[in-house]
Amino acid sequence: MSIVQVVVPRVLAALGLMLLNGVVLIYMLRKVLGHLHLRLGPMENGWHGIAQTTFDVLKLLTKEDPTPKAVDKALYFIAPAIVFVPSLMAYAALPFSNSVRIVNLELGLLFTFAVLSLVPLGILAAGWSSNNKWSLLGGMRAVGSQISYEVPMLLAALPVVMMAGSMNLGDIVRAQQPLWFIYNVPAFILFFVAGLIESGQTPFDLAEADSELVSGFATEYASMKFGLLFLSEFSNTFIFAALTVTLFLGGWGIPFVPEAIMQPIAPLVFMIKTYLVIYLLMVIRGTLPRVRVDQLLTLGWKFLLPVSIAWVMITGLVIKLGQTVFGGAQ
């Protein structure tokens, strides 16, 4: 097989997954928030407004795309791509089942974190090149919070790697049979909080704080460029939820159900779990107020970082003790 035959189907698969997820998630967000807020959400197009997002996407695609006069053109055009591409790449390593995945990477977890850490670069570029003071503030906030929380998030995922003995996401899932790693509750909470911030979710959605910055770094973007920024945000939410499922909630597995029975329905189980986590995120989004930027940074540097380092040590110690006491039957 030539390299084209290998690469093109995989990129297309990731792209299809991302777009489909985006469309479903936008509809889901509007419906969930609507019902939380005593209203119905979209109701007009199709049954319960199910075709609404399709029309929204069509509208974004056909919209005029004005470029503000004072923007830094090169950066302004490339910034949505810098945000979009890493978030597309992050789909590569996600294990939907033993066999269904885009690439089987030995260092899948590290790869996912690595590509996701490129996203702030694009957001800063978008905020900076827009030549708008509010966009700049939004971009700086996004970078400030995401840089502060990358380290705690990675450190919170480290206990899982130590317990599973691998960075391959598939191996991590298989290591959670029959007991999900969520029993390591502190690691789960640390990961979840850091991930909320990393993916820009309420109560930590400072970069787009609508009551302060209106739309933050996306203010000057319109049409499909805005669509790309918007889509990658939803995609990051999905990836964060999928990582939570993979690392802590047993991935595609169900406890005590043997692998052979699981195989055909594994991707479905994985998706259902992921969407349940996303539902939780949306309920949080519809309920909580937003923290202030200094409170966010204080929480990150003074609490999450030291605690996650300490928890890595404690987990390591417990694993080592277990190996010593039970003679290495890990």
Binding site: L33, L36, H37, L38, R39, K133, W134, L136, L137, M140, R141, T202, P203, D205, A209, D210, S211, E212, V214, G286, T287, L288, P289, R290, V291, R292, V293, D294, Q295
Partner: protein, 408 residues
Amino acid sequence: MSDPREIGRPSGSLAAPDGILPAGTYEPEVLPAGLTRAPVGVNALATEHLIVNMGPQHPSTHGVLRVLIELDGEEVKAGEASVGYLHRGIEKLAESRRYSAVGTLMDRGDYISGIHNEMAFALAAEKLIDVEAPRRANWLRSLMAEINRIASHLVWYGPMGLDTGAMGPFLYAMRDREVLLDILEDVTGQRMMFNYVRPGGVLADITPAAEKKIRVFLETFDQYLDEHIEILAGNEIFQARMRGIGVIDRERAVGFALTGANLRASGLSFDVRKDRPYAAYSELDFSIPVAQEGDCFARFMVRMEEMRQSVRMIRQCIDGLPEGEFTAKVPKVLRPPAGEAYGAVESPRGELGVHLISDGSDTPYRMRYRPPALYALQVGESLLPGVLLADAVVILGSTDIVLGEIDR
């Protein structure tokens, strides 16, 4: 006491302090005489302040307010509110309207609490023509005013949630406000621009349908109010955003002539309803909630508690509504004798006063409208230096400003 506008205003306000142009201001190519340019560039390691326009099209300015904010990173160095985007010249227009027509102008002042605006004018006009409203009219005025007060506080409570980033409370508040507006519509025929309180009495009597709706509302709202308080005040993030932010001490509150809930949150118990009773308030049993802290959270809790007191008053009004006429006999065209009068009510935002001067003709010679929110905006502005941008939004929101009233 020194000039109240100077309290809390730092030296680094928008004016040039010591011969150096404030960083971040627009610098023309040719500098004015005596000014040097602030150092910029990597070698000097100087940072520039950013001057941003919050508003007039900004979601958190509660109307069309423009606040010029000088930012050092996220920190507000100076803030200057610029008002007048909603100016309609209500005071001037009143000079060419008959007394019976001024009520429609008053509604458009503070459009969220129309009943109070009309009442302030009606009280002043009644003093001029020396007519007393009948007892039933007074009770109806109090009843409608308290219903309007809850509706108005809900319009403040919801956006307070939005200002801190919580979407939900806004829609829950609108649910309850809808019921109240229905009641007001039943009685007055309008949802916001009522023109209900007229010199001499009120426009119409309460309808049986409205009475029934009020009773249903009274049954449910106590529980809803607890929910409202719990959903925001019970939230740790919300408390962290509100406590200790935007503290107005007593001296500042008095210096800025603050009234209403903003004043009472600073520990001073002044309420026109108690201290200069009008309508039926001397006969109603209610208490004035007061808090000592003076921060945003105190203002929040005082307003929430005020809603509870309003519910108490509505209950008393609907149960004890006296029989009789709902309006006194007043001529169609009022021609008060020359003189002047001041009528004041406790609107949801504070002491709302109308000063009328008559020259004996059928139109006021001069009308002066005292908008309480204008003073609240000024005190909010004086609190801006030194806070974070997110706090600025919360401080302006917590003082409950309505731009229709400020700009008049």
